[in-house]
Symmetry: C3
Amino acid sequence: MLTLASDFGTPYPAAMRAAILRRTDARIVDVAHDFPRQDVRTAAFWLCEVLPYFPPAIHCVVIDPGVGSDRAAITVRAGEHVLVGPDNGLLLPAARALESSPAPTAGAGLRGLDPVDDRQTDGAEGAAIECFEIVVEDPESATFHGRDVFAPAAAAIHETGVERVDDCPFLEPTDDYVDLSFPEPKLQADAATGEVLVVDGFGNAVTNVPGEWLTERCSLRGRNETVQVEGTAVPAADHYEAVSAGQRLVTVGSHGNVELAVNRGQGSEAFGVAVGDAVELRVD
Amino acid sequence: MLTLASDFGTPYPAAMRAAILRRTDARIVDVAHDFPRQDVRTAAFWLCEVLPYFPPAIHCVVIDPGVGSDRAAITVRAGEHVLVGPDNGLLLPAARALESSPAPTAGAGLRGLDPVDDRQTDGAEGAAIECFEIVVEDPESATFHGRDVFAPAAAAIHETGVERVDDCPFLEPTDDYVDLSFPEPKLQADAATGEVLVVDGFGNAVTNVPGEWLTERCSLRGRNETVQVEGTAVPAADHYEAVSAGQRLVTVGSHGNVELAVNRGQGSEAFGVAVGDAVELRVD
Amino acid sequence: MLTLASDFGTPYPAAMRAAILRRTDARIVDVAHDFPRQDVRTAAFWLCEVLPYFPPAIHCVVIDPGVGSDRAAITVRAGEHVLVGPDNGLLLPAARALESSPAPTAGAGLRGLDPVDDRQTDGAEGAAIECFEIVVEDPESATFHGRDVFAPAAAAIHETGVERVDDCPFLEPTDDYVDLSFPEPKLQADAATGEVLVVDGFGNAVTNVPGEWLTERCSLRGRNETVQVEGTAVPAADHYEAVSAGQRLVTVGSHGNVELAVNRGQGSEAFGVAVGDAVELRVD
């Protein structure tokens, strides 16, 4: 299985699908192609959230403002997954998420439904991520490596197999790659200072404050719980409909982070926050 | 085969695909993920129009403003199809459309091409739709049941099989579910009063007036036929190009309903109508 | 394999997928469904660029402002590919691109990776494109031939096989079809006068001036090369990051044409050009 993610919009992803299909008849699954243009950090956040739910796969990911410059192209092996993309930090947070155990799994709450976890956990440090440079001798184009470098590399890696990725003639082990990490929140007993990492399509402002910080201080199931956001009391609840339509709330999103939301509305607008803005939360 | 539909935009549907692929390697087909946000009725309309063209499948459909509240999660069996989604009325119109016979089929007008109809019609009342509650003991998240409840439920139902859906341990038969129906138009010999159900991406305003009401009164193939819309004569024709670019017309859309359109333009704007607005048609 | 392309947005493409899946379980690959509405020329350009990267396939393509009028429906065989769509010129440029040899291939620049070319090249003129009219006796709808004519036709052609396309009872050979070609640029030793063919989603304005005209005059790898665009010197380079963020450049895009771009910005805005505008380039 191969997955594809990019900021290419349309119709460029079709050329990536085509280039892959020339080399393999494996299943291709789209993650998204409308990530914010050339915004490596936002895409890295979402890949971190979404890719770990997949079964083992080759993930071809292209948010690549430096295409055609001397930035390298890399491949990262993380457990039974492989990521392929530009060497700009994009792949690393997801690689760490794909390598850690246990894998997240969905559906565990359904009565009588067995959980699924196909992630092998030998618990050894040897399972750490491995990085390879993709050796490109002469790319066809300097502006579309998605089609000319990353897609064919991902297809060839798929055909070679994750365990034998070292056999790919265009892969060269390396320890020299660009990393990326998200800013750390400042967590205290009665206050947390974080920042908005992304705003999703519903307008929810997702912060870097871990949901546990909030759930250890509020049940989120009470009717009158509040959190101070920048000095104003806001209801805290575990789902959007706990407040009336149009009303603000603080909740923990499906990604596990604290988010600022509005029931049936735009949290980022109502709280007046954008990506990168600081957010101070306080409980009494 | 599983189909997916939601108002999730991106990249949340990828997490649903991932959760399904953890449990089955069945084909996944996207219906749409950009239905108007949290607009149950519009999505219900489109599902009604589109799903009956599919061969037997499990349809996982999530427009779910009440996620995390005490609204139930349900499964509806309709003939050889199964729908999975929130208990807010979303699934019912499509379920009725999937259960009725004969199934719509496409391509019947091509010379020498055999029609396809794989819908079993025993004609018995016993073929009516059956509803089940999805018993969720402890969902991982209160904000993303698409990933944590509906996707794994749909995958598990697929693996169990439509005929043996009762064997799924998380399904409990129920007669207590939310229904939804579209408003009925008022049809008379020389006038019809309906309302706009949806506006499609081309700007066509689709009403609830059945196409037959119009085609029984106009051939739609004449060159000078008109219908009075809110008192103004408008050309009536069976296709958009029957009028000049930018000109208004009344036609019958592919869904079989009367629609207000503009050739190469926006019908809803030109007629000044939005979803829910009343529309009066009159023929002389 | 079938590919789908249209300007239908959503959810209409799902009905096309459904109609195909009623008739075949072949792989379906989306090219794009958000081509500019009813803009035959822009879609024809992109199909020309993208489809040749695919392995042999049936391509069902619907940009169809004349749906329901007396425009014909056609099928074009081009080498091992088949195109299906309205007779408005949309298919012809891509058909010619699919028939010419050698096929483009991606990944040739990766060290040690074998190129792939599955296009049969007998070099004979007999490989020229062949056109067929799709005989429609009575389409179900006059407004949605994507679902009712093109999708079932494409599925039936897939099942019959490209080599035996003549066996499809609804296909009738014809030499009478609408063609479409892109405007030719005026190329001179020190100047080229072309026009903007399309603006892509990144805002790059793609002209009809062939990249070779530029690369024969500039290395595109120098640090101080410039081209006069409408009388103003603009840096010329082979990739976007060769200039600072927000700065204009002239480059050769992945399609092989000269394009007017801005690093991390909108070329069409910065150069003040739109589709159809003339562009004069001059080298010293």
